[in-house]
Amino acid sequence: MRKIWTLLLTAILALFICAPPCKAADVIIIGDAQLKPVVNVVSGIKESLQATVRVYPLAEIKGRLSAVIAAEGAQAVVALGKEAIEEALHLPPAVPLIYGLVIIPPKISRANTTGIYMAAPVGEYSSLTRKYIPSIKRLSVISSSDLIRTLAVPSASIATYPVSSSYEVVTTMKKQVDSSDALLLLPNASLLTAAAMEDIYLYSFRKKIPLLGVSERQVRDGALFSLVFDPISMGRQIGERTMEALKDRDAGQIPPAPSKKFDLFINTDTARNMGIDIPNEMLKQAKRVYPQ
């Protein structure tokens, strides 16, 4: 037994001594690899990034990111998620920071920073309705003021209503939306509570005002259609921006952008109940059509 232990320890020591030094990573990615979207974004980054990368869980890197970057000789950092961004904000501005997996760009003043965000701009919804569902002429958007500011470009066909609580979402909807052809909710976890969503579905069905959602689940529950970002595509975009930063371009010069690709989910039962005709061309674009 003693021999086996000796052999084991010798093998470990030999490995430490003989192993080549840990190859430096050009890019450090911070994210929770337990989350599937993080795994998918990372695979998208690896597809488009011509550089060595290393993924660190946030817990491993907290409080010592600068030291890790110095040890690795990394030239850029990708932060996936709010907590990861908060950690990366402590870095000196010389290190380019590219973020992802945030709903909208965080309010930060750090230079050399850019990113890709998850929420679909209102324009993506309105261009779809213009093209395929012309009966929806006027769209009401209810959400927090920061989401509206980032995602909605004011126009005659889009009415925006900033709110600050889930209670206000429901009361505003009841007061303002009657004059609209559809209601769009932007992704805000604090506003879209389960109780508020129940009221919204009920109101949407009673008034026959279609709801445009942000997730597949909302379509399953009764929204007319939803646009959901594709994490792998988001990863590719992040990878492209990181490549730019590695080529000495100031990341701060590249404005934050939404994901380029959105998956479309449609509920044809809702469309039928509300007398909305969904053309085949639109159905063909859908990733999934409900009911199945």
Binding site: I4, A19, E60, R64, L191, A195
Partner: protein, 659 residues
């Protein structure tokens, strides 16, 4: 005591009579709380929780769609919602796991079977430490505090190509992680119920510089719900993680627990035996682990894990009347009133384990190469007559497996070679395939050869009640499993698995109840069956979870002391969760053991438990919830031995405070 119950009742009533408190708080804080939502909460806007996580499979993390094993994961959230006091309670709700209660009271122990396997065939681990007794091969999980558990992974069927001796399956218990914030987080919990049944625990997690910590202390006790039983356990656990460098983390954990269980008076009178006895058991567990995780290159990681585990089990049983065995040739008196029962013994075990594992993640391959070693010492002392034996065992094994990702298809080949110093060795190959048939459906199939190492008690005897048989061979099995897992509709998830295990060299006792006994290798035991699991998405906040498992056990009747039988189990759970402040869950289980009529068993009904939880106070960083659990709601009888009846309805209530 009555005053405590009244106080808790008042607390519960006041909690349930405050509808809307939390809702109002939520509304009021909505604008502020938006800025503090976490990444996970944000992502839950786009995906459902079940689609969000990567699950852990065997010895390395990978996606569920790349896991060929028939595997179930129970999380700390599931455990908390059950208000469970023991791992056995948690496993009782897992389809295909058969929990055989050995006393049926607060704190009593159970033996574990998977898909109709023997208890010694189920490998149980806590943070990589093997908990199975060297003496008998079985594992008792009663000493593990449930509050320290992050998740339990259950692999049904042999997993010998990765884990070694695990012919029936693996129960891998993983403890909570150390904290990573300077401000400590934690939880304090108090529960109190019938017969002074108590469960207190406190947890603390945080970080001081590079050192992360998780600390736990708990106490459980009960005056016994039936038959003059009694239980007491104090347990502590600590885990430290030190970030030595950018690439290296060193971990240390230590845990101790001493469940003391008095099984009270047990009587059995049937056509085979007449016995009345009073018994008591004490388990003492102490374990320490030391681990090193390091990245050698971006694609190659290494993990070294060392552990020291001490386990002492003492069982003392006193005969209250003459112990009569009705043999075919006439009655035999095996003991007299006042004598120790023959099963009284103390087993003192020490095990040191070490393993090193390399994970190479390159392109479509994830290759794991590892080496396991262990040294175990057993000192077993019998009370009747006093005698001691001291066998020991050294084992080593090498294993390698690969997860090859080919688009929708994942192929997982693996092989392991085990050897011990008694000359026994075994090669366990396996191959598994998963195929993502559609966006919603995954098919799985695996073929594996597995084994079970004969326990020391059956190899080396105990100088009195069991004779030595060093020629015992490994029990071995060829196992075949195939299944489908699918979200068949948006509201229903289903999983179906069929299995066939063909085992040979069953370890049997050759002389039944007559002493001294002797263990030998018998013939084949074939087990085949199916498992069905289903779960619905919440509809109006209500979700349903159901499972059914069936196993037909067909032993070689010429050699086996066992008999051909059918084993089946059913679990059903209905949950209401408003995801804000209130959760209620009604859960039932039923296991049809196929016991012999002489055992006086009664189990032909569902045993229902009701759990209710209500948040009564919530701020950004703190939360308090009260809970109420009613056990065996309809006082159903459930036991497979008339000597150990279960208690009827009983309830407990408590409060949990998080910070």
């Amino acid at each position: 005591m009555k005053r405590s119950i009244i106080l808790l009742s008042l607390l519960l009533v006041s909690a349930f009579c405050r509808p809307g408190t939390l809702q109002a708080a939520d509304n009021g804080n909505a604008a502020a709380s938006y800025s503090i939502t976490t990444t996970k909460e944000d992502m839950l806007l786009f995906w459902e929780e079940k689609d969000l996580y990567v699950q852990t499979a065997t010895r390395n993390e990978k996606l569920l769609s790349q896991t060929a094993e028939n595997m179930v994961v129970v999380t700390s959230k599931d455990i908390e919602e059950m208000n469970a006091h023991s791992v056995d309670e948690v496993l009782n709700r897992v389809t295909g796991v058969y929990v055989d209660p050995q006393g049926q009271d607060f704190g009593s122990a159970s033996l574990l079977h998977i898909q109709g396997s023997a208890d010694r065939h189920v490998l149980v681990m806590l943070d990589g430490v093997v908990l199975n007794f060297l003496d008998g091969g079985q594992a008792i999980t009663r000493a593990i505090p449930v509050s320290i558990i992050e998740r339990i992974e259950i692999i049904k069927g042999p997993a010998s190509s990765a884990w070694g001796s695990s012919l029936g399956g693996v129960i891998n218990i993983i403890t909570k992680q150390t904290g990573d914030t300077g401000r400590p987080t934690g939880m304090a919990s108090v529960a109190y119920g019938k017969k002074d049944s108590q469960d207190y625990s406190g947890q603390l997690a945080g970080a001081a510089g590079r050192l992360g910590y998780y600390l736990y202390a708990g106490r459980q006790a009960s005056d016994g719900l039936k038959n003059s039983r009694f239980f007491e356990d104090n347990s502590v656990y600590a885990k430290l993680k030190f970030r030595a460098s950018a690439d290296t983390t060193i971990g240390f954990s230590i845990g101790s627990s001493r469940p003391d269980y008095n099984a009270g008076i047990a009587s059995l009178h049937n056509s085979l035996i007449d016995i009345d006895l009073s018994s008591k058991s004490l388990i003492s567990q102490l374990f320490m682990t030391l681990s090193l995780d390091t990245k050698i290159t971006p694609e190659l990681a290494m993990n070294v894990h060392l552990s020291d585990y001490r386990q002492k089990f003492s069982q003392v049983a006193l005969l209250l009347s003459d112990y009569i065995y009705h043999s075919p040739t006439g009655d035999l008196t095996l003991g007299h009133a006042g004598d120790y029962y023959k099963g009284s013994f103390i087993s003192d075990e020490k095990t040191r384990m070490g393993n090193v594992r390399f994970v190479w993640d390159h392109g479509i391959h994830t290759v794991i190469l590892g080496l396991d070693t262990s040294h175990g010492e057993l000192e077993k002392t019998n009370n009747v007559p006093p005698a001691t034996v001291n066998p020991s065992i050294d084992k080593w094994a090498v294993f390698v497996n690969d997860t090859v990702k080919l688009g929708r298809l994942t192929i997982i080949p693996g092989i392991r070679f085990d050897h011990d110093n008694s000359g026994l060795s075994f090669t366990s190959p396996s191959i598994g395939v998963t195929c993502k048939i559609s966006e919603r459906t995954i098919a799985r199939a695996s073929v594996a050869r597995g084994f079970n190492s004969p326990p020391l008690g059956s190899r080396y005897g105990d100088s009195f009640s069991t004779e030595t048989n060093p020629d015992l061979k490994m029990e071995s099995v060829w196992s075949y499993q195939a299944g489908l897992e699918s979200n068949i509709t948006d509201y229903v998830w289903m999983k179906a698995t069929a299995f066939y295990h063909n085992m040979k060299n069953e370890i049997i006792t050759t002389r039944g109840d007559i002493l001294p006994n002797r263990y030998a290798n018998g013939g084949r035991v074939k087990r085949h069956g199916v498992e069905l699991e289903a779960e619905t998405a919440p509809i109006y906040n209500i979700s349903v979870k159901a499972g059914a498992a069936y196993a037909h056990i067909n032993p070689d009747l010429a050699t086996s002391k066992s008999f051909e039988r059918d084993l089946s189990s059913y679990v059903l759970s209905i949950k209401y969760d408003d995801k804000k402040s209130f959760m209620a869950q009604l859960s039932g289980y039923r296991i049809l053991w196929g016991s012999l009529p002489d055992d006086g068993a009664k189990y032909d009904n569902f045993i229902w438990d009701l759990n209710v939880m209500k948040n009564i106070y919530k701020t950004e960083e703190t939360n308090a919830a009260v809970f109420l659990t009613v056990h065996n709601l309809f006082s159903g009888p459930y036991y497979n031995l008339s000597a150990t009846p279960n208690p009827g309805i009983w309830s407990e209530a408590g409060i949990r405070f998080r910070f």
